[in-house]
């Protein structure tokens, strides 16, 4: 889509986003495709900043018709100037460098981009970012961090609920939302509620097992 071919205006949200990240470093090496498919379950902040190639290379030209947008993501406020065509997914990934939310189909069919908006799961690839000002947006990065995982993230690790990991962040965002949705107790009902998240590796059995383990723990805790 056009968002990708025309580089949107750079975030004005603070200096940390202007810096080179592991992701931009990797893409400079031209290995982005290889390494993203190698599978990273949870997005991590770079442990060590790689040597920046050149800051000016990252400078994005101003886009005609860019509009000021204020977004609240994972409890933090961001002030941006973006092309109105920018989807929430592209905004998260390209402007805020929150790359846990993945672009799979970009048409609301695969669920890799799933985020929570005001506590509800939605396909961020079909959201125009500028329409979600004032809303509470939560991405996988806001759910847990490697040193402090959400119980659902822990369960996905424990149950080996992935192979390549590309769909995993979307699966986990849906799975966490499912905990508060009117989903029946059976595996079949979990599968129905998770049908908006596609896994090409076919890790469905383990994904259902991970979700059920969290639900059983939750109900056990509530009973106890």
């Amino acid at each position: 889509m056009a968002d990708q071919s025309e580089t949107p205006k750079k975030s004005q949200s603070g200096s940390q986003f202007g810096k080179s990240t592991r992701r931009t470093f990797i893409s400079r090496l031209g290995m982005a495709g290889l390494l993203t498919s190698a599978g990273q379950v949870f997005a991590q902040r770079p442990l060590a900043e790689p040597t920046p190639v050149s800051e000016t290379k990252d400078a994005v030209p101003a886009v005609e018709g860019a509009i000021p947008v204020t977004l609240r993501v994972n409890g933090q406020q961001y002030e941006l100037r973006i092309d109105p065509r920018t989807t929430l997914l592209d905004c998260l990934r390209e402007h805020l460098h929150l790359t846990g939310s993945k672009k799979g189909c970009d048409h609301g069919q695969c669920g890799a981009c799933t985020v929570h908006i005001n506590g509800r799961r939605m396909n961020s690839c079909l959201c125009l970012a500028a329409m979600y000002q004032g809303d509470e947006i939560t991405t996988i990065e806001g759910l847990g961090q490697p040193e402090n995982l959400h119980p659902m993230q822990e369960a996905f690790v424990a149950h080996d609920a992935y192979q390549c990991g590309y769909c995993t962040c979307g699966q986990i965002m849906s799975a966490v939302a499912l905990l508060t949705e009117p989903c029946g107790p059976e595996d079949a009902e979990v599968k129905e509620f998770m049908s908006g998240n596609i896994c090409r590796c076919g890790a469905y059995q383990n994904i259902v097992a991970a979700i059920q383990s969290v639900r059983q723990n939750t109900s056990r805790q509530q009973a106890g």
Binding site: P84, D106, T114, L128, M131, S174, P182, E192, G196
Partner: protein, 334 residues
């Protein structure tokens, strides 16, 4: 995606005034209202929809579901599909609507999609989605690549030589069986249109899908009071068990007394160029015993005018069996 101006309407009059400047409210509209965006943004990415202006209507006061004094229900235009499907009154009095909504799309999409947006959902015909293909709906006069192409999923009822696209909505099928009324506010005032008159058949103008004119804003949908003793059901048949459009579906609202059907409302999905109310089937059912042969007669009459294409002949029999089975399930004594 074409660049657009994004504006937000804070009251209905603002939205109507903005929309009234459009040259059409149909295919090729230069100004579009946007709510959930699940359909519109998808088509904008494909350059099938190319509006120069979007009017965000999410903040208009049309987000409520209210019981009406006559026992009916008023559903706001921007009520999300999830909220409508889970609403206690809908589940109790209009089960067919709840079931239809929950059979469509995914949780994520239902959390975004709205009532009015779902009414205006565009076809899934792949020739409509692909701007390299001939499509009279997308580009009038360019031809229909589907008629000689891959047409397995397309319509068999209400089609024309210019277009065989299917209306993909599940919600619309339930609303047709429930005899919903669409309420519209426009530059010339307010009007109420039965759902059966809201969608248009393709005929010579497949680019015109509804009666909407520039500036027309759907404010809400009303459902008549539930018919006493009626039971309703939505049955959807598809290639996958979930997150898939219907090959054939049936929405039935049936009242039976002592084994005799006293009132029947029938609509079919996945087979029609618009949500397909079948009055022929209703006539065959009314004042008849609720049994297999009556159901079969009703199904035969519903599909009598079917015009299958090269790859979707199976839909005739599938839709019949779908309707027969739906009628059997809904009339089974609990």
């Amino acid at each position: 995606m074409k660049l657009f101006e994004l504006t937000r309407a804070d009251d209905p009059a603002q939205a109507i005034a903005a929309g009234a400047k459009a040259t059409t409210a149909q295919q090729g509209a230069d100004i579009r209202f946007i709510a959930g965006g699940t359909n519109l943004v998808d088509f904008m990415k494909l350059n099938v929809e190319t509006p120069g202006k979007l009017v965000d209507i999410n903040h208009l006061p049309f987000d409520k579901i209210e019981s009406l004094p006559d026992g009916g229900l008023k559903i706001g235009a921007v009520v999300r599909n999830t909220d409508l499907a889970q609403h206690a009154v809908v589940r109790k009095n209009y089960a067919v609507l709840s079931q239809a909504l929950l059979s469509g799309a995914s949780v994520q999409l239902r959390n975004m999609a709205t009532t009015a947006g779902n009414l205006l959902q565009r076809t899934r015909c792949m020739y409509f989605r692909d701007t390299a293909m001939a499509c009279n709906k997308r580009e009038p006069g360019s031809g229909c690549a589907a008629i000689t192409g891959v047409n397995r999923g397309l319509a068999i009822l209400g089609t024309s030589e210019h277009c065989i696209a299917t209306n993909p909505s599940d919600m619309n099928v339930a609303l047709a069986a429930l005899e919903a009324v669409i309420h519209i506010r426009g530059p010339k005032g307010e009007r109420s249109v039965p759902i059966d008159d809201f969608h248009l058949l393709p005929g010579n103008t497949p680019q015109r899908e509804t009666i909407l004119e520039p500036g027309d804003l759907i404010t809400h949908v009303t459902l008549p009071p539930p018919s006493p003793g009626a039971r309703s059901l939505y049955l959807k048949l598809r290639d996958r068990a979930s997150f898939e459009f219907a090959l054939a579906s049936a929405a039935v609202v049936i009242t039976a007394e002592g084994g005799t059907i006293t009132r029947a409302r029938v609509a079919l999905g996945g087979v029609g160029a618009k949500p397909w109310r079948s009055r022929e089937a209703e006539v065959e059912l009314t004042w008849q015993p609720a049994n297999q042969s009556v159901f079969q007669k009703a199904a035969d009459s519903a599909l009598r005018e079917a015009k299958p294409q090269s790859q979707n002949g199976f839909k005739v029999e599938l839709a019949k069996r779908c309707l027969v089975h739906a009628l059997k399930l809904v009339t089974q004594t609990a």
